[in-house]
Structure formats: C-alpha cells, structure tokens
C-alpha cells in the first residue's frame, strides 16, 4: 500500500512541474489499519486521501501501527529519519499519541491530529507544532453532560475504560453534568463483556447511563445492555455510534442519544460534497472519523497554498488561520491549537435498512476546551 502510494506520488511529481517552490510537503500517516479498531484508521485514511485526490503537492506515506504504542514509535522514528517527512498525522488512540507526538514536535515536525486529543497535549504539554483538527478528548463528553442536564437526569451511572481518553471522558461529563452519580466505573481497555458492570447498573438505582466505550467495546456493551432488560436512557459520545459500528450493534442502538462535532446530515456545502464524494468513492457512508481525516487534509492543503513548509513560522500561522471549508461548518483554532466548534446531539435512527444518526439539538455552541489557560505558548 505504502509503496503503491509513494510510487503514484513520485510519478505525479515527475509528470507535473511544481506549483511553487517549497509549497510541497511529505506527510507521514501512522494509523491503525489492521486488527481491532482498524475501522477507525481506515476511515481516517480514506477521508484524508479523498480530500487530496488530484492534489499533487502532497505526498503521503501510510503505515499501520496495529494499535500498539511501541510500533507507532518505531514508525514515527522511521518516517522522520529515513522518509524525511515534514508532517505527521493519523494516530487514532490517545495512548499512542502520547507516545509519538511529544517526541515528533520536539524534533521540529508538525503534527496534525485527526482524532486523539488527550488533555496532556492541550494544557501544560501543548506545543506550537501540534494542531488538533478533531476535538479535545473532553469535548463530546462535556456536551453529553450538558445534554443530561437539559433532559433532567439527576442520578447518572458513568463508565469508561481505564486509559487516558477514558479518564478525560468521565472528567468531561462531570464538568458539565450537575446531578448526582449513581456509580462510576473504569473498565479494562479492550474489555468485551460487561455482565458485571450491567448488574451493578441494575442495582444502583440510576436514572440514566453515560458511557464511553469506543470501537468493539461499545458494540458488546450496547447489545448486552439491550438484552439485560434495563430500561434507562443512554447517552454517549459518537464513538460508539459511528457509521461503521452502528450496523454491528443493530436495533439495540435505536433511539440512543449521542454527541458529535459532525453528522452526516449537516447541510453546509462542504459536508454535502464530502458525503456524496465519499459514498461515490468508497461505496459506504462516511463516519465522523472519515470527516476528521478529510478536514485534516483540507486544512493542510489550505496552509500549503499560502505558505511553504520550509518557512515554519509562516506555515504555522497559515495552519492556525484554519482557512478551509470544514465539513462541520464553523471551525477555528483556539490559542492552544485545539478547535472551537459546535457539538451536536444526535439520535440513532434507521434509514431504510441502514442505521444512522440525525441531529436533534446543539449541545454546546462554539465550544473550546477546559485546558486553554494552562497552555503557555
């Protein structure tokens, strides 16, 4: 795959004269393409490449991190030292991002995050070369907490896996949620069976459930929760209800409210084009991960149009302007290089045979993040 793409890019470089000197860049994408969780990485990659279709100024090298921090670190070293990339991107998981990003930005590389946004990189650990094009990890959970208030939930049971993004999730929910907690559980990362947790939810007397269980973890939980006969409203971030996962959860997810910065039914021009192009190119509906990959590539292309990669100061300020048409509508960077954007509340519905989401409310308007003030940049 990697060879194919670089060969393609190479032939393109030979065939077409450069647009303008220095306005070219080599991007290293490290993402999860095999094993559990590969659906997320594949969507980010496909969205990213879709946006760059026909763009001859950006060469992309893609490698698979297998969701393992040690492999991600090796790949990053290889990309920086032997591939000589200018920009790194692609990492899905916060624990992998924490292993790769600080070292990469300290070596003078630009890192554009299409997904992970751990709090450690938004606050005191922020860096002028690190841009998050997705969200700070807490954002979607904060919107879920706000939504719980508006629905009048007073006694939530909350649950997330025991890893950096899981802790950010529960912190984010509690930051906005005003009611009591019926229980708070950290589960094992990668856990698939939630019988023990569901029994505790049943016994806790909660009036609602908030959970953050990305990928296959959420599929297991939703199916088992629906089986358990517990009739409580469920709120979660979009990660357990994205397009790739919903079909595997099936009817168990119907009616669940989830929060997202993007949705297929947003009507801005960029998004209408993105959804149509993505379906035409890949024959499936895009997920929020695909939209993040697409936005990341468009941000990069917009910055390269106005500044060369060799002039890092100019390039950084070009990135910071965020002068591109985001699929989410309004998008800008706060001082810590994390997005300011609206977070929506969506409901799972069925369109024909396909389970998907529709927006029912705006959870948070122009939300930045809680760590801006801790960032000294």
């Amino acid at each position: 795959m990697k060879k194919l793409i670089s060969m393609f890019a190479l032939s393109a470089v030979i065939a077409l004269p450069a647009f303008a000197d220095g306005h070219k860049a080599k991007v290293g994408m490290i993402t999860t393409l095999s094993g559990g969780g590969s659906g997320l990485g594949i969507d980010v990659r496909d969205g990213f490449l879709l946006a760059l279709k026909g763009n001859n100024n950006i060469e992309v090298v893609i490698e698979d991190d297998q969701r393992k921090p040690d492999i991600a670190v090796q790949l990053a070293d290889k990309m920086i030292q032997s591939e000589k990339v200018d920009i790194l991107t692609g990492i899905i998981w916060s624990n992998l991002a924490m292993a790769v990003v600080p070292a990469a930005v300290n070596q003078g590389k630009i890192y554009l995050s299409p997904n992970a946004g751990p709090s450690a990189l938004a606050g005191a650990g922020c860096h002028e070369n690190y841009f998050n094009v997705a969200w700070q990890n807490d954002n979607l959970h904060e919107a879920a907490g706000g939504y719980a208030n508006s629905e009048g939930y007073k006694n939530s049971f909350i649950m997330a896996p025991n890893y950096p993004a899981g802790k950010d999730a529960l912190t984010g929910y509690k930051r906005f949620y005003e009611g009591e907690l019926a229980g708070e559980i950290y589960t094992k990362l990668g856990q698939k069976d939630y019988a023990a947790e569901i029994a505790q939810i049943r016994a806790s007397g909660a009036d609602s459930v908030f959970f953050f269980l990305p990928g296959g973890m959420g599929i297991g939980f939703m199916k088992q929760f629906a089986q358990s006969g517990i009739d409580l409203p469920v709120v979660g971030p979009a990660f357990s209800f994205d397009q790739g996962i919903l079909q595997a959860v099936g009817a168990a997810a119907m009616g669940v409210k989830n929060t997202s910065q993007w949705s297929k039914d947003l009507t801005n021009d960029a998004n209408v084009k993105f959804v149509a192009d993505f379906q035409a190119e890949y024959g499936r509906l895009p997920s929020l991960y695909a939209s993040q990959g697409y936005d990341t590539a468009n941000l990069l292309a917009s910055a390269l149009d106005s500044a060369g990669i060799n002039d890092q100061d100019a390039f950084r300020s070009a990135l910071k302007k965020a002068d591109f048409a985001s699929t989410r509508g309004d998008f800008s960077f706060d001082t810590n290089n994390h997005p300011i954007q609206d977070i929506y509340v969506r409901e799972v519905i069925k369109e024909g045979d396909v389970f998907t989401n529709k927006i029912i409310a705006t959870g948070l308007k122009s939300r930045s993040n809680a760590y801006v003030d801790e960032c000294k940049m």
């Binding site: 025991n162 990668g190 019988a195 023990a196 296959g216 790739g244 168990a252």
Partner: protein
C-alpha cells in the same frame, strides 16, 4: 450490596468461566497430546464467530450459524493441521510459536479481506433475548444462562469421551507415550488430526456464542487466547479437568474482582482513588491468581509433575 447482586455476579463469573473452558479445552488437549503450542487457537475462535455471523445473516437463523461455526472451525482446523501443524510436532516450541503466530496474521488478514474491517452483526435469537426470573429476585439473561448450560453439557461430554470411549483411551495413551501407541498400530496422525479438529470446533463454538453478545471483529481471538493460556497453566497443561476448574476459577476471580475490589477500597479511600486502584488491581487479579497457584503447585492444579 444485596445478596441477589452478588449471586448474579457469581453467575456472570460462571458464564465467563464456562466460555473460557470451551477455549482452553482444545488448547490443553493439543498441548497435552501433541506437545504443540498453538497460538492460532484464537483465530479458530474468530473463524467460528465470523462464519456464524455470515450464515446467520444469510439464512436468518442463529442456530444454523452455530452449526456453521462448529463446522467451519473444525474444517479450518483439519486443513491447518494437515498443511502446516503436522510438520511442527517434532520441532521445538520456538518454531511452533513462530509458525502459529504467522497463522494468526494470515487468518486475521484473510478475514479482513473477505468481510471488511468493520465489525459484523450477530444477535441472539429472539427466543433467548430478555431475562429469566430466578429466585431471590435475580433477573438473569436467558442467553447467558444458555451459555452456562451448553458449556456444562460439553464438559460432561468431554469427560465421557476421554474416560469412557476407545477414542478417549487412545488420546490418553497418546499423551503418555506416543511411540508406544504408534507401535501398537494406532494411526497416530489420524488421531492427531481428530484431536486438533475437536479443539478447533470447540473454539469456534465459543467464538460464535460469545460473538452474539460481544462484537464479531478481526482480532477478537487474541485477548481470549491469553486468558486461555492462563487457564491451562493454572489447571495443569494437558488436563481437561484442570482446564474446567482453572477456567471457572479465572472466570469467578475476574468477575468478582472487578465488582468487589472497587467497593472494598471505598471503605478507606476516596471514591475516585478507590475506583482507580480497584480497577487497576482487578485487571491484575487473574495473573496474581496464576502466580499464587504456580508458587503452590509449579505444574498447575492437575498437572503431571513427572513431566
């Protein structure tokens, strides 16, 4: 904490243990009889789940999916045994680990190539959805109850097979002295293929049954494989009885640990640090159990210490 919550958790632990038993029975037989470390056992679990999901969505019947999982995993087992594994019996364990690890990669990529990278849908049949009302006000999932019953029936069947049938005699003989039973005229390579296929079919069944309540996706077998190895080390390698006791011990320890430890730490710590420490310790519990058993009985609970 009420008694019914505790009992429900015990049932959950039992269900988890029974599922682990289906996985580890094949693993321990293959190791005990053929002396082979088969890392690809988790792939057979995945094959079972994928074929069940494919057949169930094609025919609309969960039960046909279960049958398909048994058959697909057994067929895959036979092919793998004849084509690759057969060449590994005389090699040392490092060669076996390398070759069967390669099989994991091959099977995972093959599944991704055939079914795509996104998880498949497999749901429990309507007749088993919902809950069963047990005494003491326990509401327990019918489907999980079925897993417990099926697992116990298979355990009884395996014991009968090993201790009461001619095939069982040969398996036990193969375990103690390979050359001798070959000299007595038993077709040892056919016996090996059969044992391997039996283990594969059980793993496939476990994958299909669990796939219906969890997720059917590439890479689903490896976490279970690690637990299955813990089980057979605790139970004693090669012992079916050890695998059963070990699996139930691991299932109960893990489930009750996850449930009791955080509440235990809440007695003397603040809720947030109790949750932190409790869940961290809970995920270590089964390995602590394994270490404790190995200190006490270095060859496992029912292991043959002469080996």
């Amino acid at each position: 904490m009420s008694i019914s919550l505790f009992l429900e958790q015990v049932l959950n632990g039992l269900q988890f243990g029974v599922m682990l038993f289906l996985m580890s029975a094949g693993l321990t037989l293959v190791f005990g009889v053929m002396g082979l470390i088969n890392l690809a056992h988790g792939s057979l679990y995945m094959i079972g789940a994928f074929s069940a999901a494919a057949i169930a969505s094609w025919t609309g019947s969960f039960w046909l999916g279960l049958v398909a999982s048994l058959m697909a995993a057994a067929i895959a087992g036979v092919i793998v045994e004849i084509v690759i594994i057969r060449r590994l019996y005389k090699r040392d364990h490092l060669d076996q680990v390398l070759a069967t690890f390669a099989l994991i990669l091959l099977f995972s990529e093959a599944m991704r190539w055939i079914f795509g990278a996104f998880p498949l849908f497999l749901d429990v049949p309507d007749i088993l959805s919902g809950t069963l009302s047990l005494p003491l006000g326990i509401e327990y999932s019918k489907y999980r109850m079925m897993i417990i019953v099926v697992g116990i029936l298979i355990a009884i069947g395996l014991f009968a097979l090993i201790s009461r049938t001619r095939l069982g005699v040969r398996i036990r003989a193969g375990e103690s002295d390979r050359e001798m039973i070959a000299a007595l005229g038993v077709d040892i390579s056919k016996l090996y293929t059969l044992v391997f296929a039996l283990g594969a079919a059980l793993a496939g069944l476990a994958g299909a049954m669990v796939g219906a309540i969890q997720s059917v996706e590439v890479g689903m077998g490896e976490p279970v494989l690690i637990l299955a190895f813990v089980v057979i080390v605790i139970g004693g390698i090669g012992s079916i009885k050890g695998a059963l006791i070990g699996a139930i011990l691991v299932g109960l320890t893990d489930t009750l640990g996850r449930f009791l430890l955080p509440s235990f730490f809440k007695i003397f710590l603040s809720p947030s640090s109790a949750t932190d420490i409790g869940s961290a310790l809970a995920s270590m519990m089964i390995y602590i159990l394994m270490a404790a058993v190995l200190i006490w009985k270095p060859s496992g609970l029912f292991g043959n210490s002469a080996k």
